[in-house]
Symmetry: C2
Subunit: 227 residues, 2 copies
DNA sequence: GATGTCTATATTGTCGACACTTTCCCTCGG
DNA sequence: CCGAGGGAAAGTGTCGACAATATAGACATC
């Protein structure tokens, strides 16, 4: 979907590290030792440093001078902050998409939605991950705003995915999210910027509350386990 | 105001380079040769590379593998895109500030505004640069959202400044902007999130239109000069 | 026993050299 | 005269080594 191709060795290492961090193979909060990683990925420390720098600009790791880099900690607070930013940016993306998407692009988006509908009806619930991402990605692209697109796809998107994966979001909210998607596309189709933004913001707010609930439930079960 | 202190040599080089780019000493669109810069700033290429990487995450330069880095081009299109992002993020910041600022912080903000008012009345019009930045910075901080704050102060802010400096914005819009600031603070004081966000977005939209006008005027005079 | 200091160790920051890619220009063939 | 091919030349990517800084542990002191 997102077409990234590695040219340099640093690119490859960056992609590998990013995947390992997002998937949780390198756990949240872990220290990233340059020497250790350079042996593990069989590249020089310079390459590792470059990769870590890029991970830092994605906000997936935090670096301190002379101390080192750690994978970001996943906290309820951080999740809320992330979704607040996402609400602002994707809301604007929906507004701009309503203004700037071509009729053809909107038609394609509708077709995608119908396809998802068939899949959901057929009982496939992989919708959440692939379909949801695909939907949001198209609207982001539809904004035709390069800044916005980069911020969301290079930065925030991977962090959102990290939260989802590591908190085990396989949850429901599939069909309701589908309806919300439909209404957003309808607003874009009507070139109603105001409504498109509002619906997208609500959609993201709902999504946030959904995740917060699970987070709270999980925290509860953890407490019970510890007791 | 923004308290950044350089620890490593890469930090210092990054700050120097950023200043030179924002102020236009290294012109927009210029190529950043690593070897050249390493002699100019008297550091190794590794340091320059690290600095350039950070400039890239600020979106002040664009890098291509095996080709090199260039200072971003300043275009009317890019300005519009930048302000659209700014509108989304600072609008959200104002909303969150209305929710999260302490009464003390709001009181301080009001005091700052009164001080600015005295200065404006006294005919000092340096307001635009220092005062405006200070005002926006406090609201961004007031959002208490670390993500948002980093995005705005580390990334977008410097780009905005680059446009302003290099397009020669010493312009008017001082007193009107001041009134807009007052209304925003009033909304925050009333804890009216909705209004605070709306007013901030309008404020930024006005500011954008103001710059766009100047940009158009400047383009016009350029055409006349060339003719 | 707690605290502070000093040394040893490990890790990050910086450097110069080499490998690879791109670019430019010169030559050759049409 | 123009386009294709083939080297230098310049620039970026990668590497291993050294320097500077932080961490951990032992030891002395209060």
């Amino acid at each position: 979907m997102i077409n990234e191709q590695a040219i340099t060795s640093a690119d490859k290492t960056f992609f590998l590290l990013r995947r390992d961090i997002v998937e949780g193979e390198i756990p949240s909060g872990a220290k990233l030792s340059e020497t250790e990683l350079s042996t593990k990925y069989a590249v020089s420390r310079a390459v590792i440093r470059e990769a870590i720098n890029r991970l830092e600009s994605c906000r997936l790791v935090e670096r301190k001078a002379n101390i080192g880099a750690r994978v970001v900690a996943l906290t309820p607070q951080g999740l809320v902050e992330l979704y607040e930013v996402r609400e602002a940016l994707e809301g604007m993306a929906a507004r701009l998409a309503a203004r700037n998407m071509t009729d053809q692009e909107i038609a394609d988006l509708n077709a995608l939605l119908n396809q998802h509908f068939q899949e959901v009806k057929g009982g496939e619930s992989y919708y959440q991950e692939a379909g949801d991402v695909d939907f949001h990605y198209r609207i982001i692209q539809g904004s035709k705003n390069q800044h916005l697109t980069n911020m969301l796809t290079n930065g925030i998107y991977h962090l959102v995915r990290m939260y989802r994966v590591q908190l085990g979001m396989a949850g429901p909210r599939v069909t309701t999210a589908f309806d919300e998607h439909r209404h957003i596309v309808q607003a874009i189709c009507n070139r109603d910027e105001e409504l498109a933004e509002m619906l997208m913001r609500r959609h993201i707010t709902y999504s946030r509350k959904n995740i917060e609930q699970k987070l709270a439930a999980q925290a509860g079960s953890n407490r019970r386990q510890q007791a």
